[in-house]
């Protein structure tokens, strides 16, 4: 187990290194960053001074090492637009994104598992077929279009919920959170629903196929033969086995949620990391883009690591570090 964890950790560190190299070469070697720092009317001497100040006159590998050393200290440069540290800027937006992603995931789980169970227990009934049809829609509708429709129906036509911003926030453990205030909840419902839709469809499908598979297994037949109550069979025996793949997916997809929040945040003007990324790309604010990419890769590696560990704890059949790896 320890060996497996160490090798997984090693892979993660390697992935982060490769990504840092790609991002560095991509952003710093293509094009000339000096053009963005100096005034277009600057003379040669001034350009040379700026180049030296940025360390851009050194060979590329030295520049990369310098970048890495600074990155390890948590210094990924200053934002051109905001003038503050890029990483600090992103981290200040992190609570908003995390909050949105967590609420979306909760919506997906709370609605997805019961709907999937229902569809799995009665696959040929009307409700089961409707649920599956809905999940196909949830898969194929582009997220941004669904977001627009939510705004059109609930904000513009019915005027029930606000269409942009976080609303009032309150400090919880030092973090500003919308879910701590009633106004915040009104603001988070639409974006969270929008972000949840894809995951909801995924969880419905997984639960349904897991349920259908579990129902044919011997242990379910045995439980029936023993005369156990139907709700106990479904609630304990079926659900427990359905949960294993769902935990993996919830873990892996949490990272995807953070990525997809780019779209949802832009539509609902939710002041999170994703919106910051899009703004930074359009404003050519390179340090923020670099910091975002590095942060996302590190988060991704961490999430998949935690998921793997949780998986092995939940399912003793998974033999870690065995012949498979």
């Amino acid at each position: 187990m320890t060996r497996y964890l160490l090798s997984r950790l090693g892979q993660g560190v390697l992935l982060v290194k490769v990504m840092s190299l790609l991002v560095f070469v991509g952003l710093f070697a293509i094009g000339n960053p000096v053009d963005m720092f100096v005034n277009p009317q600057a003379d040669q001497a001034e350009i040379a001074r700026t180049t030296a100040a940025l360390g851009l006159d050194k060979p590329l590998h030295q520049q990369y090492l310098h970048f890495l050393r600074k990155a390890l200290r948590g210094d990924l440069g200053d934002s051109f637009v905001h003038g503050t540290g890029a990483l600090a800027l992103i981290l200040s937006r992190l609570p908003a994104t995390l909050e949105l992603a967590v609420v979306a995931m909760l919506i997906a789980i709370v609605f997805g598992i019961p709907l999937g169970l229902w569809a799995g227990l009665r696959p040929h009934g009307l409700a089961g077929r409707l649920i599956m049809g809905g999940s196909i829609l949830g898969f194929s509708l582009p997220t941004f279009w669904v977001g627009l429709m939510l705004i059109m129906v609930f904000s513009v036509q019915l005027q029930w919920l606000p269409s942009s911003g976080r609303g009032a926030t309150a400090e919880v453990l030092g973090l500003p959170l919308s879910i701590a205030t009633a106004d915040g909840w009104r603001h988070i419902v639409l974006p969270a629903l929008n972000l949840a839709l894809f995951k909801l469809s995924l969880i419905v499908r997984l639960t349904r196929s897991g349920t259908r598979e579990a129902l044919t297994q011997d242990y379910v037949r045995f439980a029936r033969a023993k005369g156990l109550h139907g709700s106990r069979i479904v609630g304990v025996h079926v659900l427990k086995n359905v949960l294993v793949p769902i935990v993996t997916v919830v873990g892996m997809e949490f990272g995807a949620l953070l990525a997809f929040s780019v779209v949802t945040e832009s539509i609902f003007a939710w002041p999170g990391m994703g919106k910051l990324l899009i703004d930074s790309i359009t404003q050519l604010d390179r340090p923020v883009v670099v910091a975002y990419l590095m942060l996302v890769v590190v988060m991704y590696v961490a999430i998949s690591f935690i998921t793997d560990v949780a998986y092995s704890v939940l399912d003793p059949r998974v033999r870690l570090g065995g012949a498979a790896s």
């Binding site: 952003l27 582009p142 941004f144 279009w145 627009l148 059109m152 513009v156 997809f260 780019v262 998949s304």
Partner: protein, 291 residues
Amino acid sequence: MNGWQRFAAEYRRSLVACIAAAVLGLLMLAALLAPLVSPQNPYDLAQVELMDARLAPGSASSDGHHTYWLGTDAQGRDMLSAILYGLRISLVVGCSATLLAVAIGIVVGLVAGYFGGRFDALLMRVADMQLSFPAILVALILIAILGQGTGKVIGALVAAQWAYYARTIRGVVLVERQREYISAARVLALPVTSILFRHLLPNCMPSLIVVGALQVASAIALEATLSFLGVGLPITEPSLGLLIANGFTYLLSGKYWISFFPGLALLATIMSINLVADQLRDVLNPRLRVD
């Protein structure tokens, strides 16, 4: 019955799939013939009347000659025409990105699957790593690095999707490699390129067509998403995503048609491709059928 007739007979079993194929055919025809069938050229300033800006669907034009069935946008363009032209751009970008990704995927998948070894291990590692990131993130990273522009968007779409094809082809090749006809071809000392492209590739086709059909839809959706976010196609190439983005500000003031109808066109395209692809999967590769 020859193969095509059998294929057609199998495909016709699902009414929904037939309707989807008809809708898709109509959309593609409309996109292809956009300059001929659309009421105006929305990007010819001589034909666009600024007086007619933001008219509701069904309004008559100020000169009284024609009706704007789907309304007009902020510049007075006929939305129906803008959608037909936009559909054209979306389909061209989506399809060319898919074709390029398929070409790369075929070569990588065939070579990796047939030769195996270190090259295979390395390539599949890269593919797996990339597939573990959502396509939108891969595309955004590339756009952030490369900058914006039509070619770069296509490049980002290709990079986000090649791995699906490479994986699919490699999977088929690993199975087919064991078959007798490949051993026979080897014994005959046929050139490797001939074994790969004339013997293995045709057998990969059914899986490739199914994956390709599904991925075209996601390529189109991805391009629309990027363009909607303002990091996709430039404004000189107004795809459906850009049209939707342009209408977004007016959506809040109740002028829904400027982004609703382009969205509907996008939706019809994606849904019909998905439904056709589902049926293709059932016909071509019954083993993959869900339930």
